[in-house]
Amino acid sequence: MIPWLRGASPRTLFALVTFVPLLLLFGLLLFAPPDGNERAQLWQFVGRFHPLSVHLPIALLILVPVLELAGRTRRFPFLLPAVDFLLGVAVATAIAAAFLGWCLARSGSYSGPLMTQHMWGGLLVASVAWACWYVRAQTAPFGQRAHPVLIIAAAAVVSFTGYRGGQLSQGENHLTEFMPESLAGMLGVGVTGDAPSNSPNGGPNTFYGARIQPLFSSHCVSCHGRSKHKSNLRLDSYEATMRGGSHGVVIKAGEAQKSELLRRVTLPHTDDDFMPADKKRPLSPADVKSLEAWISSGASGTLAIDAIKDLPASSTIQPVAEVTFEEIDPDAVAKQRASLAAAIAQFKNRFPNVLDYQSRASADIVVNAAWKGAKFGDADLAALAPLSERIVAADFSNTAITDKSAGAIAAMKHLRSLRLMHTRISDTTLHSLGSLDKLEVLSIFDTAVTPSGLQELLRLPKLRRVYASDKMMSLASSLPPDLKSKLVF
């Protein structure tokens, strides 16, 4: 055979070199088709280049008819000689892409009719492309007539196979989901979704069908569905959900805490095992509650839709609360601070480290003169008057202020926390603080305040806690319980 090969033309060689892999591929598809199991990591890695590599033959096989047509006009005759070369490239790349596709399908969890059609379609594309290339060079009249037929067939098969491929990766309804209704009506495309099953479980009137299955469909089925089912777990029907996957059952009827599915969705989001994986949208706390309630009630497929009322308030498995951080918009904050910005800057120069903004995201001010001790007095407090509206927290403990500052403190209408411990203030000051209706926390430890001075202040609406010294114990016993609870000793 070797001498014959040496004498053969490049065309013949190419024909052989591409025909043999075609046969091989055919054999692979027949005897080692994708069966829904996952296999070695290397195959999965290699296979993932299929979506990338498949675009070249698609483009070429669509382009070739265009070139053929354009090339027969008077303007672009130079295009015709290129077609042969392009067809050759199309054949080679189609075979390579088909092989990569087989690697992907065989190693990931793919199976089902969509998969099968796409797979054979891909082989067909490669075969028809080969035929196109081969036939084009023929001079016989049969070849001349077969050629356009084959080219059109190639384009058609490519479109069909590509459509199936799109459905596999984007979802079965990826073209019809957003189709305008007029078009959908014309084409007779029905409501998208899986075909209705005949089983009594999971029907639209059951709790499972109405509350649980939609959860799965929107969060889980893209990786645990008909065509792609990681770990062999499908969540697109009641039977499939209860059947479980390659690691066992995921729902234990009646035992929510032992159900793997519930465990996975209630893990911290940074955990490796958290589901949904790959940064897909997590279930909301209400969803998790429904799920837990359904499992605890027996995980039935026929339970009526309204059988579980009043989902439990405190479930044994709490969905994990997460803390979110919001981006600070410096311009918005600067705008809020604008009106008093100059005055505040001036004060910060005069009283460094005493007063500052509450945070970088806020325009409110916090005053802490405690560390200054006796160096901070009534005059200094009075100087803060222009900023009174913005002060939300003030600590004048250990300072030299006296009752003379009562008015200045009362002017801080938005004060939420006030500390006056170890100061010489007395009931006089407390009497004038009755207007601080936003005050939540007050500390008057070690001051000259007596129970009578404190009594009326306890009625402030927002006041939660008053830190007072033991002197106030006598007051505590005479108070009603709701006011008494505000005192802390």
Partner: protein
Amino acid sequence: MKYDIDLASAQHPERRFADLQAQTRRHFLRTLSGGLGSMFLGSMASFPALAASGDRDIDGELRLDLKRDPKSPLAALPPQFAARAKRVIYLHMAGAPSQLELFEYKPELIKLDGQDCPASLLTGKRFAFITGVPKLMGPQYPFHQHGQSGHWISDRLPHLEQHLDELCFIKSMRTDQFNHAPAQLLVQTGNPRLGYPSLGSWVVYGLGTENQNLPGFIVLISGGNTPDGGKQLWGTGFLPSVYQGVQCRSHGEPVLYLDSPKDVTTAKRRTVLDAIDQLNQQHYAEFGNPETVTRIAQYEMSFRMQMDATDAMDIHKEPEGVRTKYGSKIGESSFANNCLVARRLAERGVRFMQLYHWGWDSHGSSAADSLNVGFVKRCQEVDQPIAALLSDLKERGMIEDTLVVWGGEFGRTSMRENRSGQVTKFTGRDHHPGAFTIWMAGGGVKPGMTFGQTDDLGYEIVKDPVEVRDLHATMLYLLGFDHRRLNYSFQGLDQKLTGVKPSRVVAEVLA
């Protein structure tokens, strides 16, 4: 003659030579790239986008502006978001206190006391000292429930019991270090290797401190020894050195050698400082190293500290009754004194106070480190002061914005330690990184709750594990920071306390 020029003049050849020598290759390369860069920019049209690039980090989010005037490197800055806690008092029990003798009540362990440890607990684990098959050991002290929260506590901490309803326990803390120094480094700096800034340094870097006359980060040690992790536990790593913890003493001079010698008056000291200041300013003018300015600031601060620190740390000034409440005695170096000083410092605007108490490493190899002798003493040493501290903070209302954290660096095993196969009359447990307990109080944590759970033997975590970096993230959150935003650019990475692994703020413990 050319050498008639005054040596002090910049034109003198000696000076000029010295100046030239001072221009190192580094200076050349730095100005070269800057120069080329500015030529490039100059030749382009204006690029407003470029100006913003330095303000945004790798995620495209705005950096926190943590720059300060070098003359006041500890100036207070507002936190990123409204903070729940303004200051932290961290009580670190160096050596790893036994959670099974303090807070973790495991009745199953009592039943299995003395039995051989099942193999499943031993396979694949590395122990510091346990060999062969040790025996399980039940809690050495009786437990009971106390308070409305129903927390279990042993009889070792009768004073702290009164505050049990204010504490927030995390019983599922986890670490991957099983020896003291790396574990302490992990807990204090976020990394088991040396060279990283400590928690207190990050906090003072991000928030500064209010009282500029005292250090922002003060460390007090008791128990007889420095903890195994050494001074790096309060070091600054790659952050500017001004943010390091200052180790103070609660008896005698607050900082060794802070006071001037006997005949050096304040005025004289001031003159000396002014002269040093001038020299440093000259040096700064030549080399432009910001650490020089910081050094100037440090000298100034030590001068101010001479007056204020002595006053802050002087427990004579507290009435007798208060000192008795803490159990502190004048002239001693004790945890009780340290707690009292910490409270005084908190009142005076210090940002981060860290107290180390050494001696909790209850292996059971001698009396001092056994559960039946040494542990008892340690509990007595800390019980009353911690309770008094919490009570004082509560009285003053400071508990609202002071975060108190208590913990060790890992836990202890459910098995009795059988070092070299011997059984002595001293009982002890080996190191156990798998689960340990900490508690927090004050500043924004939910009182009276327990987060996380270990199994019936107190060995593995079964629910809600919390990594050390999660604890750090939570503490930074309470102080008003997104832990990912408080960063410092070093070695090409925006370094953070919580490191590069993802961490989460433990939202469940937030009030």
